[in-house]
């Protein structure tokens, strides 16, 4: 059973078909890269998988369960986590509070109106552990609004990993980073454990190709090519798509 399967997925915004009959089959523990020029429909595909928008047709299954009609929050509880192309954090809260909010999303504790969150040892310890994993534990009490862009990227990854997902969707995790920051985040991505099936959208080919075992090439909302790293890199369609784009 593959943890993530997408079959015949279609989505249109008015007359614009942004996702055209997309099939995607990601094996357990696989690191999949999705590439394609701007407007290829990569982020829309992520939004469809995460349940942020509803497909017009097709099916999505997560860990063998059909989630096509499930709300986004239910998908998180089934083991799906994601990061965003544009950083989406809670800027007035500290790093530790951001990660704590991520952790509580899957816990009944999130409904508790009386507990003092900063005194919830389990959450606090797990949040510190998640920040340590991305090398930011020393900044735990700093506000997001006072944190650099590269560190915010790491916090996003920490929040996703803190939920111990089965499937992780990374939407351009290196976008907007400096060379040094890229190197750090790249090492972080490579350290993601193998029991997490990871699908990543990325334009930086040097980094992305080191990360991925299989690549899916998209263009105009459709899957053009799907194969191993070498197959896709050497395929004439890849050059056509990028040169034409």
């Amino acid at each position: 059973m593959n943890p993530l399967r997408v079959k015949g997925l279609c989505k249109s915004f008015g007359g614009l078909r942004v996702t055209r009959d997309v099939d995607l089959d990601v094996a357990a523990g696989e690191r999949r890269l999705i590439i394609g020029p701007n407007g290829a429909g990569k982020t829309t595909l992520f939004n469809l998988i995460a349940g942020e928008i509803k497909p017009d047709a097709g099916e999505i299954s997560l860990m063998g369960r059909d989630i096509t009609r499930s709300p986004g929050r239910a998908r998180a509880h089934m083991g799906l986590a994601r990061t965003y192309q544009i950083i989406t954090l809670f800027p007035q809260d500290t790093l530790i509070r951001n990660v704590s909010i991520a952790l509580m999303g899957l816990m009944p504790l999130r409904w508790n109106p009386f507990a003092n969150l900063s005194q919830c040892r389990d959450v606090s310890d797990a949040a510190h552990e998640a920040l340590e994993r991305v090398g930011l534990v020393h900044l735990a009490d700093r506000k997001i609004s006072e944190t650099s862009y590269g560190e915010c990227r790491r916090v996003e990854i920490a929040m996703a990993l803190a939920q111990q997902p089965s499937v992780l969707l990374l939407d351009e995790p290196l976008a907007g980073l400096s060379v040094d920051e890229r190197r750090g985040v790249q090492d972080l991505l490579l350290s993601i454990p193998r029991d997490v099936t990871t699908v990543m959208i990325e334009h930086d080919m040097d980094v992305a190709l080191r990360f991925a075992e299989r690549i899916t090439l998209m263009h105009f909302g459709a899957v053009v090519l799907d194969g191993t790293r070498d197959e896709v890199v050497n395929a004439p369609q890849t050059r056509e798509v990028y040169l034409a784009g």
């Binding site: 995460a50 942020e52 998180a76 809670f90 509580m104 409904w111 508790n112 109106p113």
Partner: protein, 328 residues
């Protein structure tokens, strides 16, 4: 002394001032004004949960404020005893808040504002036009204040202490809620609802809980208002009342614990005290709001804190001696 201890000391000093207030005010007129400030503070605290922490601006909260008063008033005039009427009042506040929230939260932003305004107007229409139930424009009167636990609260000072007790409970509840996981979730739905959904939160339900808690707090204030006046009328449900509660929140400082109290203090004081000295007191109140918006748009409490930090920073900078050899 750490900032945490300073804050605790400030809170204790604030409560000590409120507890001893009738001892050094003495004039019953001002004790009654203080009771009114506390009652409206509780209503504003309720709305602050929604406006400040959930990011949902309501223009119909006066109807939730008044509904409990109407329920208790109608129950008492129908022959129920004070305790039963009080319990009925609480149940009706919860019920109406739950229905109101379910309808209003079909939208957010300007849509939410318009729905709350519309529902508020519907409830005002019911209070004004359903004469057989609400006594129309004449309102509902109750013969006497209740005697909770056998305590006589007829006088201004005993009633003030009842209002203060409820105010402290409301303050403790909101302070705790803000620090709690649910409080963090409510603020999360205000700041990044999309992210909250992706993290597994039910954004609608979180907002709904915030709405019901907000309505319940404002409704409790409405109960106190009925006991204070012995009377409730459609005047309490008007858009003007809803706007005043909203102004209390915004002028005091939304998403702050003490902002609603400060906002209520300004507005109730201007309405009841300044109006006896200044004929055009509403003009003065408007001027105050304009000044707040120009100089401290975040509200009085956070604005003063910012100004204080600024002045403190300036003092600290001045206190640094110039290096030798450099012109000062």
């Amino acid at each position: 002394m750490t900032a945490g201890y300073s804050r605790i000391l400030a809170v204790f000093a604030f409560i000590a001032i409120l507890v001893t207030l009738p001892l050094w005010i003495r004039d019953t007129f001002y004790v009654n004004i203080a009771s009114q400030i506390l009652i409206w503070s509780i209503a504003a605290m309720g709305l602050n949960l929604l406006v400040g922490y959930a990011g949902l601006v309501s223009l119909g909260h006066a109807s939730l404020f008044a509904i409990g008063g109407y329920a208790v008033g109608i129950a008492i005039t129908s022959g129920f005893d004070q305790l039963t009427a009080f319990v009925i009042g609480l149940a009706i506040i919860l019920l109406i808040s739950a229905i109101f929230g379910a309808l209003a939260l079909r939208s957010t932003g300007i849509g939410f504002l318009m729905i709350t305004l519309a529902i508020g107007q519907i409830l005002w229409g019911v209070a004004y036009r359903w004469v057989s139930l609400t006594n129309g424009d004449n309102g509902i009167s109750i013969p006497a204040r209740p005697q909770p636990f056998g305590l006589d609260i007829e006088g201004p000072t005993p009633f003030y202490y009842l209002a203060l007790a409820v105010f402290i409970l409301a303050l403790a509840f909101t302070s705790r809620l803000v620090l709690s996981p649910l409080g963090a979730a409510i603020r999360g739905t205000r700041d990044e609802p999309r992210r909250m959904t992706a993290l597994g939160y039910n954004v609608w339900l979180t907002r709904y809980i915030a709405f019901v808690m907000s309505g319940f707090l404002s409704g409790i204030a409405g109960l106190l208002f009925l006991y204070y006046n012995g009377f409730v009328s459609p005047q309490v449900l008007t858009v003007q009342s809803s706007s005043e509660i909203l102004l209390m929140v915004l002028s005091g400082g939304s998403a702050t614990i003490f902002g609603p109290f400060v906002g209520a203090l300004v507005i109730v004081f201007m309405k009841n005290v300044a109006s006896s000295f200044v004929e055009r007191w509403s003009l003065v109140l408007g001027l105050i709001f304009v000044l707040i918006i120009i100089f401290i748009p975040e509200g009085i409490v956070p604005g003063l804190a910012r100004l204080k930090t600024g002045f403190g920073g300036a003092r600290r900078i001045r206190a640094v001696p110039a290096p030798s050899g450099e012109a000062s």
